[in-house]
């Protein structure tokens, strides 16, 4: 089982012995997702608008049949750093949705969507969502890419701090969507559940949602399961973290500023302390006669 990396801790002063980790509590062994090269990883990461548009298409044509996206406003599709739809495209997209509302006399109506609306849910309430899906409501996808992760184990979780690996969620989602397979011999998936290499416990309630050729791309990206999985995972990272590009851009400015500030403060500190280091009489630089 190479699914959990070996955990070793420093055996200082005989307190610690090298240990091998087993599995996370309450979960059966499931494979670690392979790392995907994301355009939005690292300090200069940016979303790929083409990929987000493809991912949106998959959401719209496949995922949104069962999953809500309650926290995301349609207008944000045109926000900077995102899928880069034009405002005209967003207005058209919005108008294709039917939004439940009330009219002037208080009667329930369904009107055409507007950019300020949030994406409508596929089910009118959570009970309906549960009833239609074998007793478990499909999770809302707004924060899904940040709400999913997998254990990295020692020492990788420490190195992730330095390498800025933060894409556990999209890696997991992309792996999950390609992770459906026939159950290995001796493994019986309960009725209504499907074997998946990456899902904790290995049986998932969601039927394989994506198939090659299912969604027609407008660009020349290949209509393969792998491509679909990456594109929808990237789109879900955007829905979970719509200001990622802005955050990383400002972060670089802040850190460059702080490094310069630190350098200047260090030089000032050396100058101020020169008298102390040289054991000169300790007087403030601008001491007036009293």
């Amino acid at each position: 089982m190479r699914n959990e990396p070996t955990i070793a801790i420093a055996a200082l002063a005989g307190i610690f012995a090298a240990l091998t980790a087993t599995t996370v509590q309450g979960r059966e062994a499931s494979s670690s997702p392979p790392r995907v090269q994301w355009s939005f990883s690292g300090p200069l990461g940016k979303y790929d608008p083409g990929q987000l548009q493809r991912g949106f298409k998959i959401y719209k044509e496949v995922c949104s049949g069962c999953h809500s996206l309650n926290l995301v406003a349609i207008r944000t599709l045109a926000d900077p750093g995102g899928p880069a739809f034009s405002t005209a495209q967003v207005a058209t997209l919005a108008s294709e949705y039917g939004i439940k509302d009330i009219d002037g006399s208080g009667e329930p109506i369904e009107r055409a969507g507007r950019p300020g609306d949030r994406f409508p849910s596929p089910f009118s309430n959570e009970t309906a969502a549960r009833a239609a899906n074998g007793g478990v409501a499909p999770p809302d996808m707004s924060t899904l890419a940040k709400a999913r992760s997998y254990p990295r184990g020692f020492p990788w979780f420490l190195l992730d701090m330095i390498t800025q690996y933060q894409e556990h969620g999209p890696d997991y989602i992309a792996a999950l969507l390609t992770g459906y397979a026939d159950a290995p011999a001796g493994f019986e998936a309960p009725p209504g559940r499907y074997y998946n290499r990456y899902f904790p416990g290995n049986t998932i309630g969601m039927a394989p949602p994506l198939h090659p050729g299912q969604v027609t791309y407008d660009d020349d990206a290949p209509p393969t399961l792998e491509q679909y999985s990456k594109d929808i995972a990237a789109f879900l990272m955007w829905t979970a973290e719509p200001h990622l590009v802005e955050r990383k851009r400002i972060g670089l400015q802040v850190i460059v500023f702080l490094i310069v500030l630190m350098g200047l403060l260090y030089l000032t500190k050396r100058r101020v302390w020169a008298a102390v280091q040289n054991q000169l009489p300790l007087q403030p630089p601008a001491r007036r006669a009293q």
């Binding site: 420093a10 307190i15 926290l71 630190m262 403030p284």
Partner: protein
């Protein structure tokens, strides 16, 4: 103010800085009525600070800054946050999505809490290493401990406000600790919750208290700084200083050093905020709180993990809770548990070894706090918990009597050839 030999030598003209002589008419007017300028000048400009302080001493300034950052970002976040079980999670997400720079405020506040705890742990370990809690600074230490306790409560309350899965279940687990109290335990828990389960009254009172406690932290921090300004700062050598030549003026010397240290710390802080803002959090807290679904693992924030490991290392619930509270309460007795007359571990070679073992034990307990309480992890937790208490209750009292300490220098400039007088 200087009635013992150990206080800061303020009655002597240390020649460190100008006397406070305002010329500006408005300042003169104010000074006659409320001498706040003189106070600030005496405490933060002319205040004599040991010249041999190292960078571990800059964490006091860093902590003041962190408290300020948490309060400012927190007040703004509270303008947009809704403390209601149906809206709390979504209001946090609205801050992240729709409030101008809301993502920045929220990530600074969430990671700021971690940075605050990181800095306070460095500050506390520094105190232990250099014996800063010893006579005459016992009250400085105890007031600092009160600040830390308030930080623990505030940090926990704040984590619950997000109202994600881990928030909800952390609130459930931690409040349930009180059910271990004999006879009245269940009543205490119901009283804490304001109901028969963690619910809306719980969330609203947690929000109220999360807003209140930081201002109590400010109050106790002022007392903490006041106390250290009366007793004077300890120093890496841990010895008494000579009135004139061993001090420098707080401004510019300590000020510029603190500013540099703070800038380095801010780079570390910014790395987390801008590049790995969710590294220190748990992914389950991006799932809205759901009382019907228990997460696969319930783990506290990293800064509580050592205490969580201590709690779980005891098989009996009540005794576990007692061990948890004892692990913090024991710190209050540190000034009297440590029997050594030598302050700094620099001159206590054996204590230094036990100290680093203690640091490793704390980190180890932190690691074990994130592991399931089974098999080897439980055994290791028990060993490290035993050492945690043994360090305070056995090593510290006994070592003072048996340890051969290194000879103390006559003055802090002694080790520098030709520099002494």
């Amino acid at each position: 103010m200087n009635d013992t030999g150990t206080s800061v030598p303020r009655d002597i003209d240390t020649g460190l800085a100008d006397a406070f002589q305002p010329r500006q008419p408005a300042l003169l007017w104010l000074e006659k009525r409320l001498p706040i300028g003189r106070l600030m000048h005496a405490e933060f400009v002319a205040y004599p600070t040991p010249r041999n302080l190292n960078y571990w001493w800059t964490f006091g300034a860093i902590l003041s800054l962190m408290l300020g950052i948490q309060i400012v970002t927190g007040i703004i976040l509270a303008m947009h946050y809704t403390p209601h079980v149906d809206h709390a999670f979504n209001s946090v997400e609205e801050i992240m999505r729709d409030v101008n720079y809301g993502w920045l405020l929220r990530y600074v506040h969430a990671n700021g809490a971690s940075m605050f705890f990181f800095a306070v742990y460095v500050h506390m370990f520094r105190s232990v290493y250099y014996g800063s809690y010893k006579e005459p600074r016992e009250l400085v230490w105890i007031l600092g401990l009160v600040v830390y306790l308030l930080m623990v409560i505030t940090g926990f309350l704040g984590y619950v406000l997000v109202w994600g899965q881990m928030s909800y279940w952390a609130a459930t687990v931690i409040t349930n600790l009180f059910s271990a109290v004999p006879i009245v335990g269940e009543s205490i828990v119901t009283w804490l919750w304001g109901g028969y389960a963690v619910g809306n009254p719980t969330l609203q009172r947690f929000f109220s208290l999360h807003y209140l406690l930081p201002f109590m932290i400010v109050g106790v921090s002022v007392l903490h700084v006041w106390a250290v300004h009366v007793a004077g700062q300890n120093n890496p050598a841990g010895i008494e200083l000579r009135p004139r030549q061993d001090y420098v003026a707080f401004t510019p010397y300590a000020t510029i050093k603190d500013l540099f240290g703070t800038a380095v710390f801010l780079i570390f802080f910014a790395w987390f905020v801008f590049y790995i803002p969710n590294y220190l959090g748990h992914s389950d807290n991006y799932i809205p709180a759901n009382p019907a679904v228990t997460p696969a693992e319930i783990v506290p924030e990293w800064y509580f993990l050592p205490f969580y490991a201590i709690l779980r290392s005891v098989p009996n619930k009540l005794l576990g809770v007692i061990a948890l509270f004892a692990s913090i309460c024991v710190l209050a007795f540190l000034p009297w548990l440590d029997t050594s007359r030598v302050r700094s571990a620099r001159y206590r070679p054996l204590f230094a070894k036990f100290f680093w073992l203690f640091v490793i034990a704390c980190i180890g307990l932190g690691w074990l706090g994130a592991k399931p309480p089974e098999g080897i992890y439980v055994t290791l937790s028990r060993i490290l918990t035993s050492y945690y208490f043994a360090f305070f209750l056995i090593v510290m009292p006994i070592l003072g009597f048996f340890e051969t300490t290194r000879p103390l220098p006559k003055s802090i400039s002694d080790p520098v050839p030709g520099a002494g007088e």
